[in-house]
Symmetry: C2
Subunit: 374 residues, 2 copies
């Protein structure tokens, strides 16, 4: 019987696991939040992942559990593990992707380079941090943020007063040094439960309004030293935190040539979508191999350059499908991936991958093809 991989969450990351699961002969089963979600084709259950009984019923029919997102509560995950369910990544690793204060503390223990940071419980603690950092900082809610939500640049403690007021007893906000970065990078690695790790080339990511807009693989002008440092950071975090499956490490490259860890994601990540069409083993296949504890695949790129451009929002009226013919006709080398989602301003509804020997050409084609869906 085929190995059954259960994915909690029915979004586009679960959807993009379907293609490699079919080819590998894995039986992919998805617990979706609602009917008609992106991963609908593989959805075997619909229910609330906060509810242990719902999750327990779903995992009864799978061999290994993994995730479309990092929002499944620790108490649910720990109950499953206690009952002998194979959960990858497990709660001990996932807590560091769920709580940014825990992450910062653990990365400090591991000696991983990161921005200055502090937990702050009130305005005076926050103001003290700002005073020590040129009067500015980035305040983050430790939990629940994504795509720029839960992140605020402040130049006075009063600018975070609403969040401070909302803290319960024992809670804190995270404040970080506002890093003078020249660009953002991302390092993907995959790690199996049995310990094997493979690394993808470090990539450059371009964000717009806190949301990933474009990715170039490998990062242009990346020196061997930079690529090596990024890979070592990825490997040491995967090992140090016991991550299983794909790990994405978002990085700042500073104007003084340092690399600092920004955020972590323990799942396939937008910064790795290029690998679907640009690498021997795409990140969705790699994630499945890793969580199933199968030997990991070759991460080598197919071409000199791969460019990914997100389709954000989608057309103001109608469906993505109506724009297909125009994009395909103008750009036969563009690989268009859609998430089966209704267009909505700012929503990630698809992406375009282009590979080639010439970076400028690949960027042009990927942007032009994606623009057909605006």
């Amino acid at each position: 019987m085929a190995l059954r991989v259960g994915v909690i969450g029915g979004g586009q990351l679960a959807r993009m696991m379907i293609a490699p699961a079919v080819e590998l002969g894995l039986d992919l089963r998805v617990l979706a939040e609602d009917e008609g979600m992106a991963a609908q084709l593989a959805a075997t259950e619909v229910g609330d992942y906060h509810d242990l009984e719902v999750v327990r019923a779903f995992v009864a029919d799978v061999d290994v559990v993994t995730f479309d997102h990092e929002h499944v509560p620790q108490q649910v995950l720990r109950a499953l593990v206690a009952e002998g369910v194979a959960v990858h990544p497990g709660p001990d690793a996932l807590q560091f992707a769920q709580d940014k204060l825990l992450m910062r503390a653990r990365l400090e223990e591991l000696g991983v380079p990161q921005p200055d940071w502090a937990p702050v419980r009130d305005a005076s603690e926050l103001q003290a941090f700002l005073d020590e950092h040129d009067g500015q900082g980035v305040v983050k809610t430790p939990r629940g943020g994504y795509d720029g939500k839960g992140v605020r640049v402040v130049r006075a403690a009063s600018e975070a007063q609403d969040w401070l007021d909302g803290l319960a007893d024992g809670e804190a906000l995270l404040v970080e040094e506002l890093v003078g970065f020249v660009r953002e990078l991302a390092q993907q690695v995959a790690r199996r439960p049995s310990g094997q790790i493979v690394a993808y080339p470090v990539v450059e990511t371009v964000q717009r309004e806190g949301v990933c807009a474009e990715v170039i693989a490998p990062a242009p002008h990346a020196t061997d030293r930079l690529a090596q440092v990024a890979e070592e950071i990825g490997r040491s975090i995967a090992e140090g935190l016991g991550v299983t499956g794909m790990l994405a490490v978002e990085l700042f490259e500073t104007d003084d040539e340092r690399i600092l860890v920004n955020e972590l994601a323990m799942r396939p990540h937008n910064s790795g979508h290029w690998s679907q069409d640009g690498a021997v083993t795409g990140q969705f296949e790699q994630h499945l191999r890793a969580v199933a504890d199968l030997p990991l695949g070759d991460t080598a790129p197919h071409a000199a350059w791969s460019v990914m451009v997100n389709i954000l929002g989608g057309p103001q009226s109608g469906s993505l499908g109506e724009r297909f013919a125009g994009a395909m006709e103008a750009h036969p080398s563009a690989k268009i991936h859609t998430y089966g989602k209704a267009p909505r301003p700012g929503r990630k509804v698809g992406h375009v991958n282009v590979t080639g020997d010439d970076l400028d050409d690949a960027v042009y084609v990927a942007r032009a093809a994606a623009a057909h869906f605006d």
Copy 2:
């Protein structure tokens, strides 16, 4: 709403359309012959494709109909077309893939190079053909043959007596010249209903006991002239026969440097599986684009060489899945595709694709990875 593509037949070709359909956002629906077939994940109906009522009910919910195989009867196809259903390839084209005598006559009209051939109704007609062709020939049943079945090399009319005895009134066998070929090639092209055609590079195919065993893309030592002639043959057949979707033309390369058409398939074909991992647009995506009348994708290879090796039969005991870890660990660059079928001697249960700059290496890795599943 997503475009709905209905596939008649639930085998591995339908299965391998699932991955690109998900990424393109097409709603793939499959009429499977039985429960639990290769394309099970996308199966929306189970029933007999010979039964017009079954097929009519299936196609009521789709926008375009295509096929996993060529066995749907003409009367079923023609009834659908008469009712306004978009069928690709249509019955006028598909008849030439269903009946080899029709195909030979039509290719002769088109002036496409092919072996000498004749329809034979009795032993004296067959013997007369053999006498004119060095006393030997290849006898074929015009309908229903595949993977070497329905094909027999004979050196006397009596060797086909059983088939001759089985002919109904008005039926004939096909006899062809036994071509002294140096190797077999295959040319894939895709054609849209609106007329656009794209061609893949000509490939070399290696058969064992009448079944495709290996494919190398592009065909080694293929001169520009040979590649051009093969492409022109593919294009002229697609146009001349009005094929929509993928067309595979199996070719003989003779010792006197001619190229002769052996067989046709109007669907994704084993000789094109390499393109899943070796070309910008794989044949399964291309078939979907073509039958949906979407602009066709770039057929350029990713790498200098792509090699496909079939997994034939599978392990004598257990499942393919049990052999995965060994194959993956030894060959991280091998792309293993499985069909969700139980192992059985001679059955195609999966294949391995490998791409690279060095042909010998790619052949070695693909064969070695496939051998893990023996």
